[in-house]
Amino acid sequence: MKPDSAEELDSLAGEYVLGTLSPEQYAAVAERLHTDPALRAAVDAWEARLLELTALSTPQPPSPRLWRRIQRSLDELPAPRTQTRLWQRLGLWQGLSAAGLAASLLLAFILLTTPPSTTEYLVVLVAPNSQAPGWVVQASDSHMIELLPLGQDTVPDGMALQFWTKGEQWRAPVSLGLVKPGEPYRVPLQSLPPLEANQLFELTLEKAGGSPTGLPTGPVKFIGRAVKVI
């Protein structure tokens, strides 16, 4: 599509929102919105300008079966695509698999050097980039876990480390609280399902007081998966 003057761009955006473009023009604009920030901004502005005209349409109560139908469709949706930002980042998992070796070496070391105990699960939390182990999670039963620091970590002023876990079938991670760098931390797990193999644990850097959304929002500092100790 040829470059537009500001006026043409705005007119195109206005007609896109209005709905008067030809199917071909409409499809071209919809495609271009992915790559053209100026056009996107113009469309957003028109959406906002004209929004109140929706009040001219008389509300129509939906039939009771519409919500049932929506619920059925929701039940049939594949795994939610809504939590992709943090938990499905490719780089994160690539880093994690590379971290496997470091983690298993450390795990072997811990297993060989600690006296036999009732520990059932172990997690080594490593830094996603350097794969340097930073923390160990151990659970001696399925209802209490201990987070033990392997070194003295620091966090910037006004920030905090937040501890999260997510079972494989869980919809979203759950916060286990704020952790002080370099200090052991114990968490009862009564309110969560029992620990399971492969359960994900991570520490993210959040604003002091913890994530405002109840989900991890800051960068992952340490991450690892639970391994059942035989």
Partner: protein, 182 residues
């Protein structure tokens, strides 16, 4: 037609949807479903199609809630934008090339009475005051397009005006509205 007495926090609702909270989606549907269906029905001019559109819109709101970016506009605007574009898409291929039937025209002609409704015109939304400054025919072009989902050709038929004139009215009206709203 009146705005709800209690303000509904659309943004918070989308944040909850993004976290997988279905109650938030249901609250959104309970609160806004009838208005969304009204918008879709007006464009689709068919009850069953309108429910299909709202169904698809609610599913899309659910699956894309995490991608809503407050910097790009209001959460309510995002929800309506999804619904309207789904409605426009649903009619785009099937209706644009056909001539409006009498029944369609009747539907569309009720618009004029609504637009003259004093309650609406005295509403706080500035867009109405700006629309009022347009000549009647260009004003109807904008409303037939946005509210009824009419194409240029349909509007030309409804207004008994040449196609080229309708296109020019729309371009000029958009410019005038933008200047008025600035």
């Amino acid at each position: 037609m009146n705005s709800p007495a209690a303000p509904f926090d659309f943004h918070r609702c989308l944040v909850a949807c993004a976290q997988g909270d279905r109650r938030a989606l249901q609250a959104l549907y309970d609160h806004e479903g009838a208005r969304l269906l009204g918008v879709a029905r007006r464009i689709a001019r068919d009850d069953a199609t309108a429910e299909d559109i709202v169904h698809d819109a609610i599913i899309r709101i659910w699956t894309r809630a995490a991608s809503y970016d407050p910097a790009r506009g209001s959460a309510r605007g995002w929800i309506y934008s999804i619904t309207r574009h789904l409605a426009l898409n649903s009619i785009r291929d099937t209706r644009r090339e056909t001539v409006l039937t009498d029944a369609d025209t009747e539907t569309a002609s009720t618009l004029h009475g609504r637009v003259d409704d004093l309650d609406l015109w005295s509403g706080s939304a500035k867009i109405y005051r700006c629309l009022e400054q347009l000549q009647p025919a260009p004003q109807r072009c904008i409303l037939h397009a946005y509210v009824d989902g009419c194409s240029h050709a349909e509007i030309a038929g409804l207004l008994g005006a040449p196609l080229g004139t309708v296109k020019a009215w729309i371009k000029r009206s958009l410019k005038a509205l933008r200047e008025c709203l600035e």
